[in-house]
């Protein structure tokens, strides 16, 4: 089978083989419902408890602070709508570069009597501390992602959380892209809540968590049965949670080696990009080691992605969720990038399976593709 080189780890990452091994018993003989009190159920319950401890440990939280969900999007929805349901309507502030699963729930709140305030970012995609402080005035909820899914730009979340705490506004941070790529510590960051996802770090799709400071009152989005301390009902997805727990542990264990390795690969890509005259978005900011979001002058991102696909490289023109829409990246627009430049954007996100050879081949293919596309442009002009 023809297998293209996968350079789209921010969309989803391959499952770690060890994670699969850990999951398989729960798709076979260990099939109990964790709420059942017989041995089948009790075994499943113990497996979930262990997974909860694993997730808690890698983000420096207590197991009772981990609420399992069906994924990162649900965790984001749960925090925003769940916390808002327990508060009088007021201002909800979110950064201008949030994932749709934060932006859309915030918009829903705006339809229910809340006022939505957007916090701007600087040209490198970082939330401006002063703008943040201003946005917090009178706000009841605030959400700023830890690392952006497209640019990989990392926010100074610790400093933002300190300000939020001083003003007693709960700060939620979508850490879906940060987990396993940079250290994420719930206590050290000082945020009130973190959203996590399994499938971006070598775990299965269909699992995630909201790590939540228990002082934050939350109403569930899914009622009935009372699982997850009543915050998320429904029979637990045991196999996926077991996989998520182990994936967290493996990703964080490997972080010290993987982060510098991926950074080196990315820097090699960026040197190649420089020679092609590419513009790397957020280049001067602190970024995830695996992500580079760039544009080649005069070349459309969609076209480039399609050409690279033909050459055997799977990458993306932006987030997977919006990959059906031809709109330019709203994160780039928020950074002040002109719409026509933003339309040229291409995201490469590396992962455990990538090596120096992949990178060299990718750069060669990119140079080749760019030359051809430019040639076509020259001809058509």
């Amino acid at each position: 089978m023809f297998a293209p080189t996968y350079l789209d780890h921010n969309a989803t990452a391959p499952l770690d083989a060890r994670v699969l091994e850990a999951m398989l018993p729960y798709l076979r003989s260990r099939f109990g419902n964790p709420s059942s009190r017989h041995e089948y159920g009790r075994h499943a319950r113990r497996a979930i408890d262990a997974a909860r401890s694993q997730v808690a440990a890698v983000v420096g939280a207590h197991p009772t602070e981990v609420v399992f969900t069906g994924g990162g999007s649900e965790a984001n929805n749960l925090f925003l709508k769940g916390a808002a349901a327990c508060l009088r309507p007021g201002v909800v502030a979110i950064s201008a570069i949030e994932h749709p699963s934060v932006r859309e729930p915030a918009r829903q709140l705006a339809a229910r009597g809340w006022r939505l305030r957007e916090i701007g970012v600087d040209p490198l995609g970082r939330v401006d501390a002063d703008a943040f402080e201003q946005a917090l005035a009178g706000a009841r909820l605030v959400s700023v992602m830890l690392a952006n899914n497209e640019t990989g730009v990392i926010q100074h979340t610790g400093a933002l959380a300190e300000r939020a705490r001083a003003l007693r506004v709960p700060l939620h941070s979508d850490a879906v892209q940060a987990l396993g790529r940079i250290p994420v510590d719930f206590r050290a960051l000082g945020v009130s809540a973190l959203s996590l996802s399994s499938h971006k770090i070598g775990g299965p799709q269909g699992a995630g968590a909201l790590v939540l400071d228990k002082r934050i009152e939350l109403a569930p989005l899914i009622a009935g049965g009372g699982q997850e301390r009543g915050l998320r009902s429904g029979t637990e997805n045991v196999a996926a949670l077991v996989g998520f727990g182990l994936a967290c542990e493996l990703a964080v264990d490997a972080l010290a080696q993987e982060a510098p390795r991926l950074r080196e690969l990315r820097e090699r890509i960026e040197r190649g990009l420089a020679s092609l005259g590419a513009r790397v978005f957020g280049a001067g900011a602190e970024r995830l080691p695996n992500t580079v979001f760039f544009a080649l002058p005069g070349i459309d991102g969609e076209t480039l992605v399609a050409q690279l696909d033909r050459a055997g490289f799977a990458c993306a023109s932006g987030s997977a969720c919006s990959s059906a829409s031809p709109e330019p990246s709203h994160a780039l627009l928020a950074m002040g990038v002109a719409a026509d430049v933003a339309r040229g954007a291409l995201r490469v996100s590396l992962g455990r399976g990538n090596d120096a050879r992949d990178v060299e081949r990718f750069l060669a293919a990119l140079a080749d593709t760019a030359a051809r596309l430019k040639g076509m442009l020259a001809v058509s002009a």
């Binding site: 999951m23 990162g72 009622a223 009372g226 997805n237 799977a314």
Partner: protein, 403 residues
């Protein structure tokens, strides 16, 4: 000697059929793409698998694949259906009708809607667990917008008159939601025939994986609901979040097998259920809970009078059964379903739900029958109440001293 413990709790969850697991594994390994990725074959392959599975789910219930929305399970489907429809129609009316024996996913959602200002009527059931259609019609109001009745009850297995309720709802323009989590693969469902607008499905009750379910949303006449999970706009905006491809593939395969094998499997299961009932019928003071005719063959819910249910479950721990639904099994409250049938607290406490499934064997049933005989005899020997009954004392006339 069968392998212990014997699993007779198929209504709590089922084993994943090995054919289902085999079909899922490639989507956990080389075919790991995000179905929303439109720019490379990893994404296309995942999307194709998702659409094939959607077709299988639709086929089992004779629906159009475009009417199937993926969710994390039946609980989420019930929440989405009820909140989604009630809120969408809140300008028209704010009254819902459901039944006291529904699953918590429906009842708790209705409670939440009540807190939001909706009114909910919780219908009683008859002694056999079925709703009385006359009473149902009497409960309808001009401002009733949504009716929710489960197809198959999770504790007693009775099948509600969905076709009749659907006719009544359709004639009055009321949205009809049906929780079919316990029905798929157990009783035929034809959504071309049934006048149902919304229907909740679960994979893990039908030999599929946990963490995946679906909501049927009728297109003609079009049923509209408000989404409850917002984000990237997956599932035509009705339910956002990355689709878990391997689980969806598993649900599709589980529903394909259910469609192809339901008829023969039900025969096998009915035979085992009858064998179980027959084997236990010579135990004194045993009663079946719920109608025996309008019932799926998988379920046998029995009350063993003068035996405390929890002690019995402990005494037969080589057989995995439950005294109620799994969701409420952590609480020591007697089953609210059995209470709704008019069973006393004592009798509800003495009840056991046996649920049989695809992998149950005759040997397992025989072992269970034998074990129950022995344990019940023993427990009743220790029971002063049983002794009194055997001596001919009418317990209802006894004045108990408080202490």
């Amino acid at each position: 000697m069968p392998k212990l413990p014997i699993y007779l709790d198929y209504s709590a969850t089922t084993p994943v059929d090995p054919r289902v697991a085999d079909k899922m594994i490639p989507y956990l390994t080389e075919k790991f793409g995000n179905p929303a990725s439109r720019s490379h074959p990893f994404g296309w392959e995942a999307e194709k698998a998702v659409e094939e599975a959607r077709g299988e789910v639709a086929r089992l219930v004779n629906a159009d694949p475009r009417e199937i929305i993926w969710t994390s399970g039946a609980t989420e489907s019930d929440n989405l259906a009820l909140k989604g429809a009630a809120h969408f129609l809140s300008g028209k009316g704010r009254h819902l009708i459901t039944v006291k024996t529904e699953h918590k996913a429906v009842l708790d959602t209705c409670r939440e809607l009540e807190r939001q200002g909706f009114q909910v009527t919780y219908l009683d059931v008859m002694e056999n667990g079925l709703i009385d259609l006359g009473r149902f019609e009497q409960a309808l109001r001009p401002d009733t917008t949504v009716v929710s009745v489960m197809m198959v009850n999770n504790e007693i297995g009775v099948i509600q008159p969905i076709a009749e309720i659907g006719e009544i709802c359709r004639s009055r323009g009321i949205v009809f939601h049906v929780d079919a989590a316990q029905a798929t693969g157990k009783t035929p469902i034809d959504l071309q025939e049934l006048k149902v607008d919304l229907m909740a499905f679960s994979a893990h009750k039908t030999c599929g994986p946990k963490g995946i379910g679906a909501l049927y949303v009728r297109r003609k006449p079009r049923c509209r609901i408000e989404p409850q999970m917002h984000g990237g706009g997956h599932e035509r905006g009705l339910r956002s979040g990355t689709l878990p491809t391997h689980q969806i593939v598993g649900m599709g395969e589980a529903f394909r097998i259910a469609r192809e094998e339901m008829a023969s499997e039900n025969e096998h299961i009915r035979r085992l259920r009858d064998r179980l009932l027959h084997g236990l019928s010579d135990i004194e003071a045993v009663e079946v809970n719920g109608d025996m005719e309008r019932r799926v063959p998988h379920n046998l819910n029995l009350s063993f009078a003068y035996v405390e249910g929890e002690s019995l479950i402990m005494a037969i721990k080589d057989v995995a059964v439950s005294s109620g639904s799994a969701c409420t099994s952590a609480s020591l409250e007697p089953s609210y379903v059995l209470r709704a049938l008019g069973r006393s607290d004592e009798l509800a406490h003495s009840s056991i739900r046996f649920t049989i499934g695809r992998f149950t064997t005759e040997e397992e049933i025989d072992y269970t029958v034998d074990l129950l005989h022995r344990r019940i005899d023993k427990l009743r020997e220790l029971s002063p109440l049983w002794e009194m009954v055997k001596e001919g004392v009418d317990l209802n006339t006894v004045q108990w001293a408080a202490h």
